[in-house]
């Protein structure tokens, strides 16, 4: 019986640790959502290189094709101040499922094609805006 009680204690302690870690992560997500604001510019990176800077309010209806180093492609579109991938030949299609983004919250990522699209504002960092 003592052994069983000790085992139960261990189970509860382990559960507590996992719940704490998950709650900490949930808090981080919540906080990020609170501080995220709509951005003006979208930066499109392919293979870690900035290939294009898009003005989300100016380039309305923009549709462009980004070719990846492995020979694949992603079609990126701009709609109503948001940017997203609408077509791709990657294996998982996660980039399309992410949908359109309008804030700095989460970037659109296509892992197989090494594509990252993130939204930001011109003021936040000088290096990227120069590259336009």
């Amino acid at each position: 019986l003592n052994k069983r009680g000790k085992n139960l204690k261990k189970q509860v302690l382990c559960l507590l640790i996992v719940v704490l870690v998950a709650a900490g992560s949930a808090f981080a997500i919540w906080q990020e959502r609170q501080t995220a604001e709509a951005g003006q510019l979208a930066y499109i990176y392919s293979d870690e290189k900035l290939v294009r800077t898009v003005d989300l309010s100016g380039d309305v209806g923009l549709r462009l094709r980004v070719d990846s180093p492995d020979g694949g492609y992603n079609i990126v579109e701009v709609h109503d101040g948001a940017i997203g991938v609408t077509e791709a030949d990657c294996a998982d299609g996660v980039c399309m499922h992410t949908g359109f983004i309008r804030s700095s919250k989460l970037p659109v990522v296509c892992m197989p094609h090494k594509l990252v699209i993130r939204v930001g504002n011109p003021s936040e960092n000088g290096v990227d805006t120069v590259a336009k």
Binding site: A22, S25, E32, D70, A91, P112, V116
Partner: protein, 171 residues
Amino acid sequence: MVLLALFTSISLTIFMVEALLPPPAPIVGVKLGLANVVTLFMLVAGGGRSALEVLFARLVLAAIFVGQVMSFVFSLCGGLLAFAAMLAASRLAARLPVWFVSVCGGIFHNIGQMIAAVIFLGPAVLAYLPYLVIAGCIAGAVTGILTDMVMKKMDQAGALAVLRPVLEGRP
């Protein structure tokens, strides 16, 4: 060797079948990782070295079958870090529950993938880290509970008693 080949083919089959299913959440890097059941089973049954060999063989074979360099790098980083975390958690003096060892593996698998993602995709992907930690907890708990069920069934059938000395024979 026959036993290792058998375990490798089991985990490769699970891995390939899971890759055919749609991703459980529309977030990069999120998956259940059911093939981890085999790694965890071998690790808990006593074969640390065998578990690592089967894991590595599975990752290489999966890369050949899937044929994507990027996903191989990602699964290698995730798989090895997860293995290290599970090995550490399972070899602690206090015998931790299998599901907890699996959760440690799940979290560190995703942290390993995150490290690869920062190297190959840039630091912008770090925004996904809290999502991946939570996903690792859930996926790890699921595969851990499944492993526990497999171990109980094997134990009842008497298979665990046969397997354990063979696996432990290779420290």
